[in-house]
């Protein structure tokens, strides 16, 4: 059987599945023992499958978060929102397709939607720079934040980026400044901000649109200060330690729930969101709507203060 994308931890399951497929090609009537063997192998495979996907390690989840078939921002837009009015451009340099920005409706509620936008195939990935924004992307996002603030529209953001693009032009056009200004702006917008981590949450490039009043994360999404691969290179001085780094960095939903950075982790179907996208759209939509409804009752000033206090409380240190 040929598979487009195999993750390391899935290999044992797939190897057995291939073996089973081979056995099924044989003539069962000529060998009555074969039928029993096939049946037992199939049961083993199912057991192994459940065991594998029920005991995913952080590094396995990182691979799932990057799966090419994983539902992306545009899929959530299609599934959860109606009457979408996209906005384009930063009014200064360009329209960065690695960031989606637009107005939309979710179950009758008007909102402003932001999201990192990876492509679904090579062509769209090249156009969208594989979901890694340039400064103009963050400046477009800031335009939408100001619009949302002006018209009182809650902001919903979807995180799915390996990071802000580390290129020459990005540096020269002020990648750092764009991210910093976005952080400053987002910290003070007078509307509820609901953040959903759907895939990769790569460092500052994710954070620029990635904190708010309610933090929701999918089970196999990650959010991290650095990619496990780069951490492995720098801190372990050994490129093969990414798996260990992924655990140490505490970067998946359950870890971040414990650290108080994330409020809610949305479970995925066995095998990951890409095996049955519709099974995650419902719960994600419900979590967003629940958050919007809870936050809409809070006085604007109080909400901004709460957001500040929440940020203010993050950090661990000892005081003499």
């Amino acid at each position: 059987m040929t598979r487009a994308y195999v993750m390391d931890f899935e290999r044992p399951v797939f190897e057995l599945e291939d073996k089973l497929a081979e056995l099924r090609k044989l003539d069962v009537s000529a060998n009555p023992e074969l039928a029993a063997e096939i049946e037992s192998l199939a049961a083993d495979i199912e057991r192994l499958r459940v065991e594998t996907y029920s005991n995913l390690q952080p590094w396995d989840r990182v691979q799932l978060s990057r799966h090419p078939k994983r539902p992306k921002t545009e899929h959530y837009l299609d599934a959860l929102f109606t009457d979408v009015a996209e906005v384009h451009g930063d009014r200064a340099f360009a329209d960065d397709e690695a960031i989606f920005a637009g107005l939309a409706t979710i179950q009758g509620r008007h909102v402003a939607v932001l999201g990192h936008r990876k492509g679904t195939d090579t062509k769209s990935n090249v156009r969208r720079n594989f979901g890694s924004p340039h400064p103009e992307g963050y400046r477009k996002a800031m335009r939408l934040m100001r619009l949302a603030d002006k018209f009182g529209l809650p902001i919903v953001t979807f995180l799915d980026t390996a990071g802000a693009y580390p290129g020459i032009e990005a540096e020269e056009r002020g990648q750092a400044l764009a991210i910093a200004e976005s952080l400053a702006l987002l910290s003070g917008v007078r509307v509820p901000v609901v953040v959903v981590g759907i895939g990769e949450g790569g460092s500052g490039g994710a954070l620029a649109i990635g904190f708010g009043d309610r933090m929701i994360m999918l089970e196999n999404a990650y959010y991290s200060v650095i990619s496990p691969e780069m951490c492995s290179n720098i801190l372990y001085k050994d490129p093969t330690q990414a798996k260990t780094a992924a655990s140490c960095l505490k970067m998946v939903g359950s870890d971040l729930l414990e650290l108080g950075i994330v409020d809610e982790v949305v479970p995925e179907p066995l095998g990951g969101a890409h095996t049955d996208p519709s099974a995650v759209f419902g719960p994600v939509g419900a979590a967003i709507v629940r958050a919007l409804d809870e936050l809409s009752g809070i006085d604007t000033h109080e909400m901004v203060e709460r957001r500040y206090r929440r940020l203010r409380a993050i950090g661990a240190y000892s005081a003499k």
Partner: protein
């Protein structure tokens, strides 16, 4: 540490010592002993003379990296600096172990720098003007920003806001501190939020970007200053040069991510040499005093 101790600590570092305690150098390229080779022009410099020249090479103008206590001495009025938040210290919230445990790195950094963390903050006056002042120190785990750096910077902004004071910071950093994971990343949002509140209160913030300032520090509170100056030759950016080179798979242009190139691209206001920094900050502070509240206007 009281200011007097810094002076004596600096004094003790100036000459070769006969004991075997580790020599503290202000930069990797500073060799042990009395003579220092300039990495740019290869001239051999007498360390005492180099220190007198504010650690700037008198042949080529190269600015050597200096420490946070040296920044305090350089930029604040003599005897005016009173350190704040000396009581908070880093811990190891994730139990992080890589090539070496985080605790070991912290211990090493403390020994090497004599500091408790990568930033020193306090009240001071600059040209007689009361300010909140902070300086980062690259010797402490690359002046990476973890919980304590984020907290101290945030508190500095909050103190300045509450006391209606301008804030002056000098930055140097490799970025967010990996060993504290997401707690470090979130310090970017926390410090930016505090900087924004200080700005909303109509108060001045001047930031001096020094070599090197990268990653999560550049992309948060550092560049949010009202006026951004940098020391000559300082490397400043978001992504490190190695990562950029690996990503684009080509050689980087000459001068990429230097203070001079940042100026050319409109990203900073001025490149100011070390000897002129204090005067420049005094000049700027003179212009950037809060507007007086007029009658009929909300304060």
């Amino acid at each position: 540490m009281p200011l007097a101790d810094w002076f004596s600590a600096r004094e003790s570092r100036r000459y070769t010592r006969i004991d075997d305690t580790p020599q503290v150098s202000s930069s990797a390229e500073v060799a042990d002993g009395v003579w220092v080779k300039c990495d740019s022009c290869k001239h051999t410099l007498y360390e005492g003379e180099l220190a007198d020249n504010l650690w700037v090479c008198r042949h080529c103008g190269r600015h050597f990296d200096i420490t946070a206590p040296q920044r305090v001495e350089l930029l604040t009025d003599e005897g005016s600096f009173a350190e704040i938040d000396t009581d908070i210290a880093p811990c190891d919230p994730l139990g992080f172990v890589a090539a070496k445990p985080y605790e070991t790195s912290l211990e090493g950094a403390r020994e090497k720098s004599g500091l408790t963390e990568a930033v020193v903050t306090g009240r001071a006056t600059i040209g007689g003007v009361p300010v909140v002042f902070g300086a980062m120190d690259f010797r402490f785990i690359g002046a990476s920003m973890g919980s304590v750096v984020g907290e101290k910077i945030t508190r500095a902004f909050e103190l300045a806001t509450a006391q209606r004071l301008p804030i002056v910071l000098t930055t140097a950093s490799g970025g967010a501190r990996m060993q504290e994971g997401m707690l470090s990343l979130m310090q970017m949002a926390k410090t930016s939020a505090a900087a924004q509140r200080h700005s909303d209160a109509g108060l001045a913030y001047i930031c001096v970007l020094t070599n090197p300032t990268y990653g999560g520090v550049t992309a948060s509170f550092a560049v949010l200053a009202d006026v951004l100056v940098a020391e000559p030759g300082a490397r400043i950016g978001f992504a490190g040069p190695l990562l950029v080179e690996q990503t684009i798979r080509q050689k980087l242009p000459k001068g990429f991510q230097t203070a001079e190139s940042m100026l050319q691209h409109g990203m900073i206001d001025e490149v100011v040499s070390r000897g002129e920094l204090k005067d420049r900050i005094e000049l700027l502070l003179g212009y950037l005093s809060p507007r007086p509240a007029r009658s009929g206007e909300r304060s």
